[in-house]
């Protein structure tokens, strides 16, 4: 409807929108938000599986320290050389290959980096945000389609740099995903340099994406789509984009400084009098290792909400749709999300209690941390109450969402002892922390992302994924996720340190002959390592149905019978399936809030947002402005 005379005069500038682009233009260098969303989704899913594979190898080392790696041992040796050294039997014959301590460290650092920055953020924020947000607000595309493409390309470049770093001499970065200096800076290998440069590209990608999302949500809402009619998912993405926009630049600054430390031999994060391997380091000194930690966690904590808010948005959409009820407390959800976004900038140093911050500062950050748990609880409570009295449809997306609620609850509540200074001092470097945040991002966020994939798949492809295999995928994933992370709480509370290359075998408990008391970590907690590892490998196996389902259904899935197969109210279901370039045939007008399910007096149990007060949705011929 924008084809006024004015536009036609300058039509040659918009030619790309009018004729069909070729393969490269359509799938690789596309500026269409839906294609970019799908590009992000597939790339991020590949990275998620890759990051998971690194952990599966590490779990072998933890369960069977020093034993030859089965199946992929020689492959690893061929690719990475002596990082996976051979072990020999009595006759000197090589019987297999093991994981060296350096490789374990590199895999650990890259597992975290890849899962967070190349897996979940691009999937939760960029992929779902790109595909769904413009559709839900009734926009033809993002505000800046070419910036959007640049964002994806920058992401790919960053990802490739991270992958290449595995194969350079000395291997990938191995100072943890947090890259604390001086550990990260002082090594002679270049893995960390690659990590920093890769991060700069990923940060650039996120910044471009964030600018685009915010501008789109502010500027491109369809007529009538005022702020309190936005689907909660859009709100979640809006706040997430602000977190990325304002929290990432300090990490970029820190990355630039660490790069200078690494390449130009500055001492931003290196203190005076630093001793390395018994020798006074040849540096100018005068820097501060704590500065890195502050700048890192200034991003790092908002990043946690970058991971969880889009997931909450997805869960909200799916719960409303499958309970066939309005979401309980829409405004509370919105304000809680804004409060989380705001508060998340002033809680970061609760990651740093162990650095010896003074009591006043610890108290300050402890207080803000406790306060920020309140809006999170409000959100979760709203979701639970929304279930009350609904006639729930238990389809695959809904099952994942229902599992999200208690899983996120466990993850959140176990975070409280970590938010308190005193209990954190004991728990901080143990498996308890691993269990806590994985409960939030693995059975929490990732379950919500699975739910989102099953839910919006019909819109993207015009076909359903298999319900049966979806349920198999759900129930087994649910089982194994809990078998992996629940025992880690136990290990952590027993004091098992989370960075041990051999899973703690060195510190195995020995009974003191005099008293009979066990000194060290009792064997029973170390034995859990084996159980956890087996559960992790089983979790990988049960993703196979999902992967096959995902690709098989593109061509062979059950065809959708209408453009709105879930009978949903939001605008993305009011488009053709799959939506064409430009999305809507006529500009949608919005007349109501996002979750008008089972409104009394209506013939059907859902009322789309673009349905006028009386009668069916009609294309409105003339815009008001």
């Amino acid at each position: 409807m924008q084809h006024t005379n004015h536009d036609l005069h300058h039509g040659h500038d918009h030619d790309h929108a009018h004729h069909e682009p070729g393969f490269w233009g359509k799938y690789v260098f596309s500026t269409d938000h839906k294609v970019i969303g799908i590009q992000y989704a597939i790339t991020a899913l590949v990275f998620l599986f890759f990051g998971f594979s690194l952990m599966m190898l590490m779990r072998w080392q933890l369960a069977y320290p020093g034993k030859a790696i089965p199946l992929v041992g020689s492959l690893l040796h061929n690719m990475l050389g002596d990082a996976a050294p051979g072990i020999t039997d009595a006759s000197g014959k090589i019987t297999g290959y093991i994981m060296s301590a350096d490789l374990y460290n590199a895999f650990g650092a890259m597992h975290g980096t890849i899962m967070v920055f190349l897996g979940i953020v691009p999937l939760a924020f960029a992929a779902f945000g790109n595909f769904v947000v413009p559709l839900q607000i009734g926009a033809p595309d993002m505000a800046f389609p070419r910036v959007n493409m640049a964002s994806y390309q920058s992401f790919v470049v960053g990802g490739v740099i991270m992958l290449v770093s595995f194969f350079i001499p000395g291997g990938a970065a191995s100072a943890g995903w947090t890259s604390y200096s001086p550990l990260a800076t002082l090594g002679s290998t270049h893995g960390q340099t690659f990590w920093i440069i890769g991060m700069v590209f990923l940060i650039t990608s996120s910044l471009l994406g964030a600018v685009n999302f915010i501008a789109t949500i502010i500027q491109m809402r369809a007529p009538g789509m005022n702020w309190m009619r936005l689907p909660f998912f859009v709100w979640a993405q809006f706040v997430t984009a602000f977190l990325l926009l304002l929290a990432f630049p300090p990490l970029e600054a820190a990355a630039v400084m660490q790069l200078m430390d690494k390449v130009a031999h500055t001492s931003f994060f290196l203190p005076t009098g630093l001793v390395v391997s018994g020798q006074l380091a040849n540096i100018s000194g005068g820097g501060s290792p704590l500065l890195w930690q502050h700048l890192f966690w200034f991003l790092g904590h908002p990043e946690v909400y970058v991971l969880i808010l889009p997931a909450m948005g997805i869960v909200c959409e799916i719960i409303a749709n499958n309970t066939r009820k309005p979401i309980w407390g829409y405004k509370s959800l919105v304000y809680s999300t804004l409060a989380i976004g705001f508060l998340s900038f002033i809680v970061w140093a609760h990651h740093m209690y162990l650095t010896g911050m003074g009591t006043k500062i610890s108290t300050f950050f402890q207080t803000t941390t406790m306060i920020i748990s309140i809006p999170s609880v409000i959100i979760l409570t709203c979701f639970f109450i929304s279930l009350w009295g609904g006639s729930i449809r238990f389809n695959t997306p809904m099952l994942f969402c229902l599992a999200f609620l208690p899983m996120f609850g466990i993850g959140g509540l176990t975070g409280l002892p970590l938010g308190f200074n005193y209990s954190d001092l004991f728990l901080h470097d143990t498996y308890y922390v691993i269990a806590h945040f994985h409960y939030i991002v693995a059975p929490g966020t990732i379950f919500a992302l699975f739910a989102g994939i099953y839910y919006w798949y019909p819109k993207a492809t015009g076909r359903h994924m298999s319900e049966f295999w979806g349920k198999v995928h759900f129930w087994l994933s649910f089982l194994f996720m809990n078998l992996i992370f629940q025992p880690m709480f136990v290990q952590g509370m027993a004091g098992l340190n989370r960075r041990l290359y051999d899973g703690g075998a060195t510190y195995a408990g020995v009974a003191d002959p005099a008293t009979g008391l066990v000194v060290g970590i009792p064997q029973v907690f170390l034995d859990l390592n084996k159980m956890i590892s087996h559960a992790a490998w089983a979790l990988a196996l049960v993703q196979i149905p999902f992967i096959i389902n995902f690709f098989w259904s593109m061509k062979n899935g059950k065809k959708v019978t209408s453009d709105n197969p879930w009978e949903a109210t939001t605008l993305e279901w009011q488009t053709p399936t799959p939506p064409p370039h430009g999305n809507f045939l006529t500009e949608p007008h919005v007349y109501r809030g996002p979750y008008e399910y089972s409104v009394p007096g209506h013939g059907k149990d859902f009322t789309p947002q673009n349905e006028p007060e009386h009668g069916a949705p009609q294309p409105i011929p003339q815009k008001a402005h």
Binding site: D141, V256, T266, G286, H625
Partner: protein, 286 residues
Amino acid sequence: MEIPYTVKPRPDTGLYNAKVGIWLFLASEVMLFGALFSAYILLRVGASAGTWPHGLLNVTLGTINTIVLITSSITVVMAWVSLKLNQFGKFKMYQAITLLCALAFLGIKSVEYKDKFSHYQIIKKDGTYVDGHMHGATYLDKEGKSREEHKFHGLSFKENNVEYSLKEVVLNGIEAAQLSEINEPHKDKEHKHEHKNISVPAAEIQKINNYGPWHNTYMAIYFTLTGLHALHVIGGALVIGFLWGPGAKMWRTEPERFTNRIEVSGLFWHFVDLVWIFLFPVLYLL
């Protein structure tokens, strides 16, 4: 459907898309430079007494560069005004001046950088300092034949398979018993140090390095802040240059949209100026 509000402002926000976009981007830039300024304050507060240099940089060059950037800011505004008044020729002239200013700024900056790379500090084995610009270095080959160099090539270097080792270095500068005499010369006005050529034999040298980013945390933050700022100048100049050259043909087809582009690129340019307004006193004067 076309993307709305690329030219005309959206009624409820009063803004066109690109203006929202650039301000959001500038917000993130505020956080980027803000983090670096925080780092600057921290490093400076944490520096032990006498190690933070004062008056090291050339204030005259810094002042000239400040004026150059301010001039470029007014020409950017005037270029936008010219388009609003439908005076395309004037727009071309003003943006040409902007681009020349950008070049001048970068030229002066590189002169300053070069100066720092030829400025050396020697810690002698007796614990005293010699600090000044490299006047020359004498190297010896295996046979004891000496060779004069204007530049410093390290304690030894190899050329055409001949190894040369340092005999002595001549710096044009001052001798000092303590670091604070070099870093805080204004504190001690009676003791005015005359610059003179000082020759230091290689055997007396404990450590020698130039004022690159590795020299101390002040030089580190100086090079990082000004380097990042210079990258922004280059980026801004590329955009303005594109809109001045090939991008200017949009003026004929979509004048309003082109004017918006000039406004948006101008906003970025003013931000770069804004950063320099803080960098100049912080690095040069305080």
